[in-house]
């Protein structure tokens, strides 16, 4: 018996050690790319004839929709543009690029051809000083990728938490082991003393005593009670298990493109219905078509460095690669900033699956009832990987219908109902259930 205890302790210990080892190894992996990216680009020599701070404001207001500093967008990358062209030329170009092209300026024509004749807006209102400021801003060196100190700290902290609890466990195990050994030793010593003192040591009682299982078997009442208890318990668990068949709460499948609701809905505060626009008017919320993604992602080919590091360290996802997947699917040639026409529709895995016999209409809930998306879909803005938050069972639907009041006041449709209700029943409110929201045929047809 003691031996068994001992063995279990060993297993426990080795497991703890293994866990410790593993947590350290993940940490090492997490740090590797961060270290690799830590080499910052050297800033080029700059002729700062203007105020970069004012330039930044101007740049963001006028240029940022088409230009980036360090990468091609609709227009070329502008970092160090003052080195490529003289200021006078730039003034002309920015104020009215089309005129410059028409005049036959070789460089203007060249750049226009390179960008497939994309027309740059004319900015006649910008003064020379403004343009100088912008040019000054374009010399802002590319900031070194943020060393993911925060992430490391977090990871270390998280890891530390793990270690500390493991240590406590290990210490406790050690204490138990020592106690067990001591008990064994004391017992042995006592026996030895007894034998030495001539005390007869015999396990008489044990021999006479009925083994407990035999006693149990002989007590019919006890057997009956425990059988009933066992049956009930197994019935209870079997029922519980069967009730969750087909309930996919927490279902979080791997999607063909790692789309982070956390970044879009959380960090960037994009309204759910910007992408899921049909939720307002249709029964389906709609998985957005890829052209909706491209509304923004035409200009966002890369995530910010901080987000990038976060993705690598916390989720082991290279967000930039995921955006590239989108480009591949939609057929966007990032280098030439044009659509190739070769599309590969994305086969998303559907998460919220209602059975065919249940009719659910998003617009009824979103537009008419004004229910927040999060009520059913949970904290989507915190979900890195989307999962099914609610159980989507009929009981869940009905509970909400019982508790939720119909918005009678602001809707002309309900005017008559509201009036007669307040007259006849003096009802201040009406739940969805009272309005017929529990009738079978409202959802099953």
């Amino acid at each position: 018996m003691k031996k068994v205890t001992h063995r279990s302790l060993t297993t426990r210990l080795s497991l703890t050690l293994l866990a410790l080892l593993l947590s350290f190894s993940t940490l090492t992996f997490g740090q590797e790319p961060a270290a690799a990216d830590a080499v910052a680009d050297a800033a080029p020599a700059a002729d700062l004839g203007g105020d970069p701070a004012a330039g930044k404001t101007l740049f963001n207001a006028n240029c940022a929709s088409c230009h980036k500093l360090y990468a091609k967008a609709t227009g070329p990358a502008l970092f160090g543009v003052g080195d490529k062209y003289e200021k006078e030329w730039l003034y002309k170009w920015i104020r009215n690029s089309q005129e410059l092209i028409k005049s036959g300026d070789a460089r203007a024509v060249a750049i226009s051809t390179e960008y497939n004749g994309a027309v740059m807006n004319a900015f006649p209102a910008l003064s020379n000083e403004d343009i100088d400021n912008i040019i000054a801003y374009t010399y802002t060196p590319k900031p070194p990728p943020v060393v993911p100190t925060g992430a490391t700290a977090d990871a270390a902290g998280g890891g530390g938490g793990g270690i500390s609890s493991d240590i406590i466990l290990a210490v406790l195990a050690l204490v138990f082991l020592m106690l067990a050994i001591m008990l064994y030793l004391v017992n042995k010593t006592l026996k030895r003393i007894a034998v030495a003192n001539g005390v007869e040591y015999e396990d008489k009682e044990r021999a006479e005593r009925l083994p407990i299982w035999k006693a149990f078997a002989q007590n019919q009442f006890l057997v009956l009670v425990s059988a009933i208890f066992l049956l009930l318990a197994s019935g209870y668990f079997a029922y519980g298990w069967m009730m969750q068949v087909g309930v996919d709460q927490g279902y979080a499948p791997v999607q063909p493109i790692h789309y982070s609701h956390r970044i879009h809905a959380g960090t960037n505060q994009i309204d759910c219905k910007y992408c899921h626009s049909s939720a307002r008017k249709s029964k389906h919320s709609g998985i957005p078509s890829l052209n909706v993604c491209m509304n923004c992602h035409k200009n966002i080919a890369q995530v910010g460095d901080k987000t990038y590091q976060e993705g690598i360290s916390e989720y082991q996802i290279d967000y930039n690669k995921e955006i590239q997947k989108l480009y591949d699917a939609v057929g966007w040639d990032r280098d030439n900033q044009r659509y190739t026409g070769e599309t590969k529709p994305v086969k998303w895995v559907r998460i919220h699956n209602l059975p065919d016999f249940a009719y659910f209409n998003h617009s009824q809930h979103v537009t008419v009832a004004g229910v927040e998306c999060q009520t059913c879909h949970g904290p989507v803005e915190e979900m890195e990987i989307m999962y099914q938050y609610s159980s989507l069972t009929m009981g869940w639907c009905i509970n909400c219908h019982r508790e939720t009041n119909v918005k009678l006041e602001s809707n002309e449709y309900y005017a008559k109902i509201h009036e007669s209700l307040s007259k006849e029943y003096d009802f201040p409110t009406l739940t969805a259930a009272q309005n017929g929201g529990l009738e079978c045929g409202k959802c099953h047809y």
Binding site: P288, Y413, S420, G436, Y445
Partner: protein, 1021 residues
């Protein structure tokens, strides 16, 4: 005490020492079981690697695996658009206005599309004259998803490319200069196509354009052309008629292109004590005859005499009864003056000219804006047929028609196959396509552009509602390609319409689908000059003079299949004929007297289904060997009827190859044929007839009254509320005292009611198909229909009177006393089961009555059937366990049980069994599975959508917004649907109408469906 009786099994046992007995005593079986055969073969047993234990292991493992797999949900993929079109929002339906003009049916329709798939046809309310949105038009959407469609052009039976098709065809056409080539087309009624074909025939002078209507209205066209110089058909607005005399014209059927039922019904509903009077002379029992106030059964050969008599001639040659009826009809016509109208179905130019003459002052007939839906000329088509057979015609290009199937000439098929040039433009590889060198695959009307002028000045546009499913190209586009035009047909239409539209925008016209304009558009077919009446008379139909012996045959087109171009449509095949109530068949209709004389019987066999004798039908040198005979009450003695359009074998699924090809008897393209020999042959035909009891037997099912009683009588007499006895006191069944249940308060919110006006309902069946399309009702096939397992949520019951009218039936029942004797009920009820020789007919659409006190709800053990506060009786399919108690307890017999899985099941190989056909399913309605009960939901998906739309817009629901599929489809206005809590609504008025009654009201079910008592105008003079 034990019995001394000795039981014995054989005589042997009586002998004392029988050796046989001894052996038997030892053996359990008389003969040894041949176990050696399967166990004795040592080699097989040893070679088998599967031991008994292995087998059990496999069984156990597969069971466990199947169980585990069942607990795992499937992974469902969702694939959004890469670039979503603006107008498509998943889950929201789009509607497009378009036009069907398939050569037989012409109508302005609205197409409901979901996620880019057309799923339902509705009528276009904007059209002032929207043609005939009948059952076939409603079903036409399914014909697009037909698996038998041509996937691309073919040359010599091999798939080809359109480029090859064009070049080879052009080479062929150019090589045939000087030889006669006929372009045989359907009626297009299309300004653009007429113009285009004229340009084409100008380029190829050897090509002659001939229009061929599979079922011709040639004589009426000739008469109209003679008088007005335009090849068209007079239009009739029966809503203005006070007296309608129809001489063999099935005005509620496909007569002259059909589409008259909405006007007709408007005039039939009594308003201010007035309704039209309809007198029908006919031989087959048609919808028109069934709806008429007075129906006179006459032979087709009498029609001409009746027309003469009506026109002031003598009544000689007519029987006294008919002569009397004609005299009365004439008197009533005269009395009605400008509001009287005569229509005629006789295939005779003189008769048709008489019609135009007699109606000249009638406000009902419109000759200024005639209808263009038939253009064909019998004489020309006959010339083509004979030309092909005698070799004078060298080439034939068939467009939208199937002459090899539908031409009556014997030997035409061989002659066609031997032509120098044979080409077909068709959607399916029909008989003509199968025999053609060139087959151009044409798109369905829902996939292509087009235009039409159904009635002069009433223009309509046809627009695609889906991308072509196959590699098809419209005939018009092909013509343009042959003429080496740069234009597409779409551009061509736009050019043509520039003059029609005047200043109106094209987009507006396209959105409306219809456009009224006084623009003159040349629509005449080149070469159809004025026809001389006398000449036409000479070639006219002998049948109408009754010259020859034998029976007279009147061919007809039935409501479901029409001329047969949609015969591969399971909805239409399964749609019961409104008159005979038989589906999946055509048959010879015959009067009971003739049948008895020939020994022909119809009988109900053990399972209740109808069986009938076969007959051999001979006309001249054509014989149809086995034609089933249906004994039709009201069929004129000495005549038989047979529906066209059946018996196709090309490009039609095996299950849909039903009936016999009656076009073989369509001699000279005349529907009326004399001298037909009919004799009984061996065998019994199995009909799929859904109504097995034909008479009402004086029961209170359809309430009827006469116009006089309705006007002047006491409503309690002609529309009484049934009474029940309580404490030996008679109280009305509607009284709260007679009620077992506590009433619900339904005053808040909506309370849906439906009203069916039995005066307006013509029995056309458009609602039946619309219900199929909206509610994903499965098709079960002929043998299942025979077992009474048809799934129609909405049926149209047809009742015959067993006396001369229903009133006499009721009187006979009321006069019965005792069991035996003259008035005895035993014999009396037996007699009442048989319909009269020329019975009165009544139609009654019956769907779930949505009882407020529903008997089905109380007996459901799992509460799958429950009641909504809005008045609908809900059916939760996922809850149903299939006990069928509800169906047994339903007094209206409207519940349908899914005996089988009808989708994705090879046993039911209809549209739900293939990917193409399933595209027609309505995504808002669940497809039911095996073992559950289903029934009419009062289109709750539609009412819920209307409510949601209103809520979303924040406005009350307007009257008329609430619709069901059937009320929407009813062009006759017989079905009204709405909210009776809205006291300004149409339905509320119907509820308060004196004609209102509930079906089987005495049962106390308080239905939410009500009927309006049928009123007949029985005024004889």
């Amino acid at each position: 005490m034990a019995s001394n009786k000795k039981y014995w099994k054989s005589v042997e046992e009586l002998k004392d020492h029988s050796p046989i007995l001894e052996t038997l005593r030892q053996n359990e079986f008389v003969e040894a079981i041949p176990t050696d055969e399967f166990l004795g073969d040592e080699q097989t047993m040893e070679n088998s690697s599967t031991s008994r234990r292995d087998f059990l292991k496999f069984v156990g493992f597969s069971t466990a695996a199947a169980t585990l797999a069942a607990c795992e949900g499937p992974v469902i993929k969702s694939i959004p658009y890469v670039n979503a079109p603006d107008e498509i929002v998943p889950g929201v339906a789009n509607y497009y206005a378009t036009t069907i003009a398939d050569g037989f049916d012409f109508a302005n329709v609205l197409i409901k599309t979901r996620e880019g798939r057309p799923i339902k046809v509705e009528s276009n309310d904007m059209a002032m004259h929207n043609g005939s949105v009948n059952a076939r038009v409603h079903a036409s959407v399914l014909s697009m998803y037909d698996t038998q469609r041509l996937a691309g052009p073919m040359i010599g039976g091999e798939a080809a490319s359109w480029a090859d098709f064009d070049s080879q065809m052009a080479a062929k056409l150019n090589g045939m200069a000087g030889k006669e080539v006929v372009l045989l087309t359907q009626t297009f009624a299309s300004p653009s196509t007429s113009k285009l074909i004229a340009e084409f025939t100008a380029k190829y002078p050897n090509v002659k354009h001939v229009v061929y209507d599979t079922v011709s209205s040639s004589e009426a066209l000739d008469a109209f052309q003679n008088k007005f110089g335009v090849r068209a058909l007079a239009d009739y607005d029966f809503s203005k008629a006070e007296v309608i005399v129809s001489v063999g014209a099935d005005i509620l059927g496909d007569w002259q292109g059909g589409g008259y039922d909405s006007g007709y019904s408007a005039g039939r509903v009594p308003k201010n004590g007035k309704m039209s009077r309809h007198i029908q002379f006919e031989s087959n029992m048609t919808l028109s005859g069934a709806n008429a106030d007075k129906r006179v059964a006459v032979k087709p050969s009498d029609l001409k005499k009746i027309m003469n008599a009506l026109n002031g001639g003598s009544t000689s040659g007519l029987s006294d009864k008919v002569a009397e009826a004609v005299k009365n009809a004439k008197a009533q016509l005269n009395a009605a003056g400008a509001n009287g109208v005569v229509v005629c179905g006789a295939e005779d130019v003189a008769c048709q000219a008489m019609v135009l003459e007699m109606n000249a002052n009638s406000v009902v007939m419109d000759t200024a804006k005639p209808r263009m839906v038939r253009q064909g000329n019998k004489a020309e088509v006959l010339k083509v047929m004979n030309g092909v057979m005698n070799g004078s015609v060298k080439g034939l290009i068939a467009v939208g028609v199937d002459p090899v199937y539908a031409f009556p000439g014997k030997g035409f098929a061989e002659a066609f196959a031997n032509l120098e040039l044979s080409a077909t433009f068709a959607m399916k590889a029909n008989a003509t396509a199968a025999a053609s060198q060139f087959v151009g695959a044409t798109p369905h009307y829902l996939e292509s552009w087009g235009d039409a002028q159904i009635k002069k000045g009433y223009f309509s546009l046809q627009q695609p509602t889906i991308r072509p499913l196959f590699d098809t190209r419209s005939f018009q586009d092909t013509l343009l390609a042959w003429m080496e035009s740069e234009q597409t047909y779409y551009d061509y239409i736009k050019d043509t319409w520039a003059s029609i539209l005047g200043g109106t925008s094209w987009n507006q016209a396209l959105q409306d689908g219809v456009f009224m304009s006084d623009a003159e558009v040349a629509m005449d077919v080149a070469g159809s000059e004025n026809v001389d009446t006398t000449l036409e008379d000479a070639t006219s139909n002998g049948a109408q003079d009754g010259a020859s012996s034998g029976m007279e045959l009147l061919l007809y087109t039935n409501t479901a299949i029409g001329d047969g171009r949609q015969a591969n449509n399971p909805w239409l095949q399964e749609m019961p004929d409104p008159i005979t109530r038989a589906s999946w068949d055509n048959y010879l209709t015959m009067s009971a007297a003739d049948a008895a004389a020939k020994g022909i019987i119809n009988e109900n066999v053990a399972n209740g289904a109808l069986n009938g004798s076969y007959a051999k039908v001979t006309l001249g040198d054509v014989t149809l060997e086995k034609v089933p005979v249906y004994i039709q009450p009201g069929q004129a003695k000495g005549t038989v009827g047979l529906a066209l359009g059946y018996g196709q074998t090309n490009a039609i699924q095996k299950e849909m190859q039903t009936g016999v090809n009656a076009y073989a008897l369509y001699n000279g393209f005349n529907l009326m044929q004399a001298g037909v020999q009919v004799e009984k042959t061996s065998g019994e035909h199995e009909f799929a007839c859904v109504q097995l009891h034909n008479t009402m037997m004086g029961r209170d099912i359809i309430r009827e009254t006469t116009l006089d009683v309705y006007k002047d009588g006491d409503v309690h007499d002609w529309n009484p509320i049934p009474e029940v006895s309580k404490d030996h006191q008679e109280i009305p069944v509607t009284s709260p005292d007679a009620d077992l249940w506590d009433p619900f308060d339904r005053s808040i919110g909506h309370h849906f009611n439906m009203s069916i006006d039995l005066n307006a309902c013509t029995g056309c069946g458009a609602c039946v198909i619309a219900c199929h399309a909206e509610n994903n009702v499965p098709v079960v096939g002929k043998s299942e229909v025979r077992r009474s397992r048809d799934m129609h949520w909405l049926r149209i019951d047809r009742y015959y009177s067993s006396e001369e009218d229903f009133a006499a039936d009721t009187k006979k029942k009321d006069d019965m006393s005792g069991l035996f004797g003259d008035n005895g009920s035993l014999g009396g009820f037996g007699e009442m089961e048989d319909p009269a020789e020329n019975p009165q007919v009544a139609f009654m659409p019956v769907m779930c009555q949505h009882c407020n006190h529903a008997p089905c709800e109380t007996v459901c053990p799992v509460a799958a059937s429950s009641h909504g506060r809005q008045g609908q009786n809900h059916m939760a399919y996922n809850r149903c366990v299939g006990t069928r108690y509800c169906a047994n307890n339903c007094p209206y017999k409207v519940r349908r049980f899914n005996w089988f899985l009808y989708n994705e099941n090879d046993e039911f190989n209809y549209h739900m069994n293939n990917d193409l056909g399933r595209m027609v399913l309505n995504p808002d309605v669940v497809v039911r599975s095996r073992g559950v009960m289903e029934k009419c939901s009062m289109c709750i998906q539609m009412t819920q959508k209307t409510i949601l739309d209103a809520k979303r817009d924040g406005r009350p629901v307007k009257d008329g917004e609430f619709q069901t599929a059937c009320s929407n489809a009813c062009s006759a206005g017989a079905i009204t649907f709405g909210d009776i809590n809205d006291h300004s609504s149409e339905i509320y008025k119907k509820k308060k109408d004196s004609r209102m009654y509930h079906l089987l009201e005495a049962v106390g079910t308080e239905p939410n469906v009500m009927y309006q008592t049928k009123v007949r105008n029985t005024k004889e003079s």
